[in-house]
Symmetry: none
DNA sequence: GGCCAGCGTCAAGATGACGTCAAGACCTGT
DNA sequence: ACAGGTCTTGACGTCATCTTGACGCTGGCC
């Protein structure tokens, strides 16, 4: 049983979606504006988000940008805007799919199934936990410990940890890391990597100047070794 | 760099897609019918498939069904059929996205980015791995081992290893090697070869003075023998 | 035996990438 | 409006890597 968060200010649409989703055995959560949506997302961990772009308070796009700051939950954008630019923007901000209103319910349900199917076996719900001799990183709970002492990581730092630890020991190229963490257009800003790798080492390495987990492969990329 | 397989029988569409994909640094493979597409997929491992539904031989839907039998590669369906049933069918058969023709190129490119982003990071890397009795060279991961002990190679050394091991046992001429590693204008700087061949042997040969893998063919070039 | 061309070796200097720091911009909640 | 935390941006020292040149060795040829 999966949980789906519906973010839309139109009660009629919300009702239609809720009925259809419940009929297909999903749990449904509702937020009528962007602020509430973000609030819900920090407290709950739905398996998918249906996000309307036309919200009363925040722009749907900002909601998307912000939620991608701390979550990799699959997002399907619903929007009345048909323009190519809007679609490109939303997709590049991290939306998994973009459906224009009015939409066929059956199609949307199929797209939801598709998105859930692809979602890498639990990015949120099944909290990934990485542990080493000195470290404990709970990706789901956003909790980090160094030698038992809790450490606070910022959203960007979490995103870096997330992509670096996805395949332990594997090399992540600079461009890939930048795109994953900051977005598609940032693939040349290697400054950021220097700053944030230093930050991660300061917070997560016993001896920041002699890193054992967060390593640099000069000219190529970075890797996390357990 | 990712490889994308375009399956479509319309040469005009294939050409448009190929141009746009190459401009965005993708390698492009083409299949004009379903049979060829399935054939290619058993031999190569593209990172994403663009699949037209209207093919001359097999129905695109059957292609999709069959390829899902042995592959989890992301598939974006392109189709002139707008009906909801068609979309639902394709999506439920395992398509990751469904785009109706005519489509905006920018939108499609954004959807490709979105699909690649979601695909588990591991599936993308085409890791060539070269092994001998004493050596292990993982070109994708930039990891090298000599008798089980990890060895660190610099970027230039990796480029040399890359070109030398591309065709094991084959002779690579000095000029070709220099051009591949340092650039087109360096084809006379055979100094570099001397310096870096020595470096490679020091790091990757059990007995650097009696090389068994990285050999020199005086006056002609170099070769890697497994 | 002596000469030459090409290869192997070495080390010093130049270069560029990385690590570090701090000031300012930005955003958020009070 | 303010205070706290976070992200961005630029400058700078440091280090690994690359470049460059000098020298010794070897094998072929006269």
């Amino acid at each position: 049983m999966t949980t789906i968060l519906v973010v839309d200010d139109d009660p009629a649409i919300v009702r239609t979606l809720a009925i259809n989703l419940r009929a297909r055995d999903h749990r449904v959560q509702v937020a009528h504006d962007g602020r509430t949506a973000l609030q819900v997302l920090t407290e709950e961990t739905p398996d998918l988000v249906l996000l309307d772009l036309g919200l009363p308070d925040l722009d749907g796009v900002s909601v998307l940008r912000r939620l991608r700051g701390f979550s990799t939950v699959p997002v399907i954008v619903l929007s009345a805007r048909h323009s190519s630019d809007d679609k490109v923007e939303a997709l590049d901000l991290g939306a998994n799919d973009y459906v224009t209103k009015p939409f066929g319910v059956e199609e949307l349900m199929a797209r939801i199934r598709a998105a859930l199917r692809q979602s890498p076996a639990g990015t949120l719900t099944e909290g990934r936990v990485v542990t080493t001799a000195t470290l404990r990183l709970d990706l789901g709970e956003h909790a980090a410990e160094l030698n038992g002492a809790p450490v606070h990581l910022t959203p960007t730092e979490w995103r870096m940890v997330d992509t670096l630890t996805r395949r332990p020991g594997a090399l992540v190229r600079q461009g890939d890391l930048l795109r994953e963490v900051w977005g598609p257009s940032y693939d040349k800003e290697s400054n950021y990597l220097r700053v944030f790798m230093a930050q991660l080492r300061r917070k997560l390495e016993v001896e920041p100047s002699r890193p054992r987990h967060f390593l640099t492969e000069p000219g190529v990329g970075h890797r996390f070794v357990p």
